[in-house]
Amino acid sequence: MKILILGAGQVGCAIAEILANENNDVTVVDDDEKTLAQLREKLDIQVVLGKASHPNVLRKAGAKDTDMLIAVTSSDETNMIACQIAYTLFKTPKKIARLRSSSYMTRQTLFGKDHIPIDVIINPEQLVTNQIKRLVQYPGATQVLDFADGKVELVATKAEFGAEMIGHELRDLVKFNPNLESRVAAIFRNNQPIIPEGTTVVEQGDEVFFIAAKDQIKNVIEELQPQHSSKYRNIMIAGGGNIGERLAEALETRHNVKIIELNADRTVHLANHLSKALVLRGSASDETLLVEENISSIDLFIAVTNDDEANIMSCLLAKKLGADKVISLINNPSYADLVQGGKIDIAISPKLATISSLLAHIRHGDISRVYSLRRGSAEAIEIIAHGDQKTSKVVGRQINQIDLPKSASIGAIVRGDELLIAHHDTVIESDDHVIVFIADKSDVKAIEELFHVAFTFF
């Protein structure tokens, strides 16, 4: 596939790398010569220097025969105009753009064939906000991923000391709680993936990924984390930017929310727009402020400023002063590796969220969701099975008859409105949404081919 990426920022570069490694024909446009030079040295891609929204630059980058345009420059306006130009002048079939400003996002009628022709809008702040909101909803989870419009969720959690499941085999999960409809998709022990069998024994410190219907998640977490199943009552948010504001707005009705922001004008804005959350002016790394505001009784501390270092430091401070759990927004993947799972309970990467969301639209086959997990080393995808027994390698077969790559496992199937937890004898039908967990990303390609419908289908 020929893909044109506008903007060689963090997300642009990361996407370019993933796509180039998957044998796509990638062109990157940016107006910074140095970045482009570095990128060209590292990857097998074409680069074009110039302003991403200029028609002549787009032509030079081969917009004419491009299959897909991904506009991820730092400017919303450039991204929108580039999509418009690509549509009007070059008839580019698929246009994806990242838009940050919420004032564009609230006007959905703006976008469409007759207006601003963007097929997919990616809003990183919205993605991150949703991700954190789900984490707050399920205390104890380190990651919560939606599938099939929220009917099914893939949840990651840590098996902690005192949990009933520790020392038991996975198939005992049903014994502890007979009503539980869930399936463990993967276990990571010391950062190494283990493909779960019924006889796999859960150990303390295991990171367990399981798939369950929405209403079952709490019960599963309880089996693995006896202490953390209670609700987060007091939440403190550090940073009152767009993410902080949206989070506070979403959480203030059900939780006691305190939000810290340094900028004076911004605090006034927050106080005017939030109805219940307590807005505090100051720095999140100011110990006196945190103590004054009773940090020791805070159940969850969320640092969402746009500065990685500030987020990490304030989280460490909050944890030291007695905050129960801390979540930090971390863009730099090396930092995330350093701190996650240690003092910082959960690190959230806007970049990873954006990439996951982009991947769902880029991948071959009928894939409706992709989540990049564990800093990109694993993936969870929701893929739709098509065809029949003759044309497809999956439809009409039992799960244990499907020739899955070693690192992959099928967790659940959504058929219409019904959720089926995968068993070895479950038969896949056409139009099923199949949720596949792939512990080793290099097997993604194999999964895509597996679900690919043979030519005779047409």
Partner: protein
């Protein structure tokens, strides 16, 4: 300050006012009373005064600016208050001094409803009708005042309502906004009056009584053509109708307008002032009723509840009808009932008092101060209907409340100095400044026995209360008159 504009506008007011004499003339003619001649004289005088003010300036271009607004608004009540005395002075059936006549006409125009006339039931119908009409007319003035003028002048935090009804001019020209807003609200006012009159008539009042009472119910004024006020009828249905219409007249007319245009009752439930108003009414009723039941003033506690509901709504909306003599209730309760008028009903209604929206904002500011002590580094915002209230508005609201109370206390002290007893001074001062009407002590049945200094002071207090104090205070500062 532009004297040409002011005299032109006043001229128009007086001319319009003169047409109001036609109605009592018709009433006099229907009942075959000789009073019609007095009204004709009054009308001629009014036309003459009006033309004198208007004719010389009619072709001069004029734009009304905010500063002229203060003078016009103040003189509307002062000048019409003075000219409104004429029928009382001309009439031979009521024997009123200039002081009493001015008091009566001011009390009516400001929709206070306090009266110095006794033996109402024996007066000519046309004079009675004229009193009621003055109050209704005053109510129309108040709507414009509250909805268009005060917000523009920014009195006591009323700039809050400036954005509610957007007009074509955002600068200091008053006229276009006022005509636009006022017209639609007047239709509403007239509609309410008609429905109220029909309801009273249906419930058993004579047509004359129904019309007279509807005028003073919707204007929350409270004069009645009977000495016994609403108690004259002793009819439960009439009382409930009165309670209902007094209550809705206490709601901001702009809110009514919105509810009618959207065709939805939700507008009321979403407006914090209306909801608080309702809550205050319910709380006051329950507290007072329970106290009365404990004091055991009447064996029939349902009867007491009916009386309580009527009295609370009537005093809170500063209407001032009564169905029972509250001075016979335990002393502290009658004091509380009179003091209810300090709340008043919603801003932008015909009610007097300090207005509930101001109480809400002031209370929230107090809470904010308290929260700030608990969380010194927090930023709080005072909100009304989910919109942040500017600091400037909060400040004006607090100053307004303070000045309202200070003026009340000063007035009460002066009344005490003129030789009044405490309860009379307290209740008449409160009643006048809150445009309530009834009072206790010497003034319990009517105010005629007060000394004339007190009557002039109280008349002034009524105008002051009606004009939300600052409009009048502005005129008393030298700075205003400096070029």
């Amino acid at each position: 300050m532009n004297p040409i504009t002011i005299s032109k506008v006043l001229g128009i007011f007086v001319l319009i006012f003169s047409t109001g004499m036609i109605a009592p003339m018709v009433v006099a003619w229907i009942y075959g009373e000789a009073e019609w001649l007095n009204f004709l004289f009054t009308m001629l005088v009014l036309i003459a005064v009006g033309l004198l003010l208007w004719l010389p300036n009619r072709n001069r271009p004029s734009e009304v600016h905010a500063r002229d607004g203060f003078v016009i608004v103040a003189s509307f009540w002062l000048v019409l208050g003075l000219l409104g005395t004429l029928p009382f002075l001309f009439s031979t059936s009521v024997d009123l001094s200039l002081t009493d006549a001015f008091f009566e006409s001011t009390s009516a125009l400001t929709t206070t409803g306090a009266t110095v006339i006794s033996g109402l039931d024996f007066l000519p119908k046309s004079i009675l009708f004229y009193r009621q009409l003055l109050q209704w007319f005053g109510g129309m003035g108040i709507i414009v005042l509250a909805v268009a003028v005060l917000p523009m002048l920014g009195i006591g935090g009323m700039q809050l309502f400036r954005a509610e009804t957007p007009g074509p001019n955002k600068d200091n020209k008053l006229t276009p906004r006022i005509t636009e807003t006022a017209k639609s609200l007047w239709y509403l006012y007239i509609t309410f009056t008609v429905i109220c009159a029909l309801a009273y008539w249906y419930a058993g009042m004579s047509l004359f009584d129904a019309i007279c009472h509807s005028f003073t119910t919707i204007a929350t004024a409270g004069m009645s053509p009977h000495d016994a006020s609403m108690g004259y009828f002793n009819n439960a249905m009439i009382e409930w109708i009165a309670v209902f219409f007094m209550f809705i007249s206490g709601i901001t007319f702009a809110t009514h307008f919105l509810a009618f245009r959207r065709g939805s009752l939700w507008v009321y439930f979403r407006d914090e002032e209306t909801v608080t108003y309702f809550a205050i009414v319910v709380t006051a009723i329950s507290v007072i009723w329970l106290t009365l039941v404990v004091h055991d003033i009447n064996d029939n506690s349902f009867q007491v509840l009916r009386q309580t509901i009527f009295q609370v709504v009537s005093y809170l909306t500063t209407t001032g009808y009564s169905t029972t003599d509250i001075s016979l209730w335990p002393f502290h309760i009658s004091l509380i009932v009179v003091s209810l008028s300090f709340f008043g009903a919603c801003a932008g209604s015909t009610a007097g008092g300090m207005k509930i929206v101001r109480i809400i904002i002031a209370t929230r500011q107090v809470l904010r101060e308290i929260y700030q002590l608990i969380h010194p580094r927090a930023i709080f915002s005072v909100k009304l209907n989910n919109h942040p209230v500017e600091y400037r508005v909060i400040q004006s609201v607090w100053v307004f409340l303070l000045v309202h109370l200070v003026i009340f206390f000063v007035l009460m002290q002066i009344l005490l100095i003129t030789g009044m007893d405490f309860i009379t001074a307290y209740s008449t001062a409160a009643s006048a400044i809150n445009n309530l009407g009834p009072a206790l002590g010497e003034a319990v049945s009517n105010w005629s026995s007060l000394n004339s200094v007190a009557k002039w002071l109280l008349s002034l207090a009524m105008i002051m209360g009606r004009l939300e104090i600052f409009t009048l205070l502005v005129l008393l500062t030298p700075m205003f008159w400096r070029k």
